[in-house]
Symmetry: C2
Subunit: 223 residues, 2 copies
């Protein structure tokens, strides 16, 4: 069975990615990061999702991005804002986060002799975050094939972004069809310890709109 590394944050998008990878016949190796998030609810969610989604293995890598700071998500001195109405790159952007996560996924894939990595970047995100854009993913894939022993030996590494052109509504529809219980996922930037969402931040607003547009009940637990 072909192996894939799936980046799994515990949020709605990455959980959908895990289910999509399984539905495409991959043996899934889930990878999460303890990067100094404001709350641990997301990581707890990733553990449950890896188990219920039948990942073969789930690794949580300690990677403290607070040491470099620079984001509302990893620096306690920067507040998480309400919905970002004026566009631009939000303060919740974590410098080079996806580059770092994909790099470690690449190392893990190389050790596993896997040629496939799944990441749940999507269209709604890449309006704001530079490292969610298709051109970033293409550049990373090119790098991956130059960076590794596997690449040198001709085993092409593919970065899969199955959500990249989907709206939030399409994402939740596809996961729901595959039996994913979105009540287990945590998207909120400032969820409480029980994983209950604030309902106010960018991430909460986009998620709630997704369920509404899909005509599906919103299973999110709010504070």
């Amino acid at each position: 069975m072909k192996k894939a590394v799936v980046l799994l944050s515990g949020g709605l998008d990455s959980a959908t990615c895990l289910y999509l990878a399984k539905s495409q016949g991959y043996d899934v190796y889930a990878l999460s990061f303890d990067y100094g998030q404001r709350h641990s609810a997301e990581l707890e969610a990733s553990k449950k999702l890896a188990q219920i989604g039948e990942a073969t293995e789930h690794k949580i890598i300690p990677m403290d991005l607070r040491l470099i700071g620079g984001s509302a998500l990893t620096d306690d001195s920067i507040d998480v804002p309400d919905f970002n109405e004026n566009g631009g790159i939000p303060v919740t952007y974590v410098p080079a986060r996806n580059t770092v996560f994909l790099s470690i996924a690449l190392g893990y894939a190389e050790v596993l002799e896997a040629n496939d990595i799944f990441i749940g970047v999507n269209a709604v995100d890449y309006s704001g975050y530079p490292d969610c854009r298709p051109e970033f993913i293409e550049a990373f894939e090119k790098l991956a094939n130059l960076a590794t022993k596997a690449g040198v030996e001709g085993h092409k590494m593919t970065i899969h972004t199955p959500l990249i052109d989907l709206t939030k509504a399409e994402i939740v529809k596809s996961g729901t069809q595959l039996g994913l219980d979105y009540g287990l996922t945590v998207s909120c930037y400032q969820a409480d310890e029980q994983g209950r969402a604030c309902g106010q931040c960018d991430s909460c607003k986009l998620r709630a709109q997704g369920f509404q547009d899909a005509g599906l009940p919103d299973p999110t637990r709010y504070v």
Copy 2:
């Protein structure tokens, strides 16, 4: 003064990079990784070098690559071999190591609003390690300019590889001219706790040959 992030392992190459960056007028922010190396002597060396080389800041990021394994340098079940005579990619290759390190350097540079990153890859290494080749560095630089807020806003990020075309002899000559005390650097893959080198591994052989070819005394302390 312009800022640069310098990847500093505590070895001969990265120490030379630090001195070269300083000599080019950069305010140096040194970055090291506690990645589950077999010994701590290299990290201790990096601390001394950052201090003596007058880095403005030195961060050591815990990043345990043993969790993904796959290399003699991070997996205790794989032995460090003697000199790799038959070519090919050596077992001391750490999967995706330079990709991971450059990614974190990129995040740090973004937080600092620095546009320059120095990494001490060189010609002697890239015969064996895929992530020391010029085409890898070019691909990373391209990625860096797509991955970041700075890149999107038009501040070009440059990855400097001042050693890439130098032989070990040329490297030690240039560092010596800048006043670098190579006795402080640790290159051995299996140095003891006092930083004394084995004299047998690839890294020791290449280093010793460098001093010999340069006609300089070898300040390395051997076991």
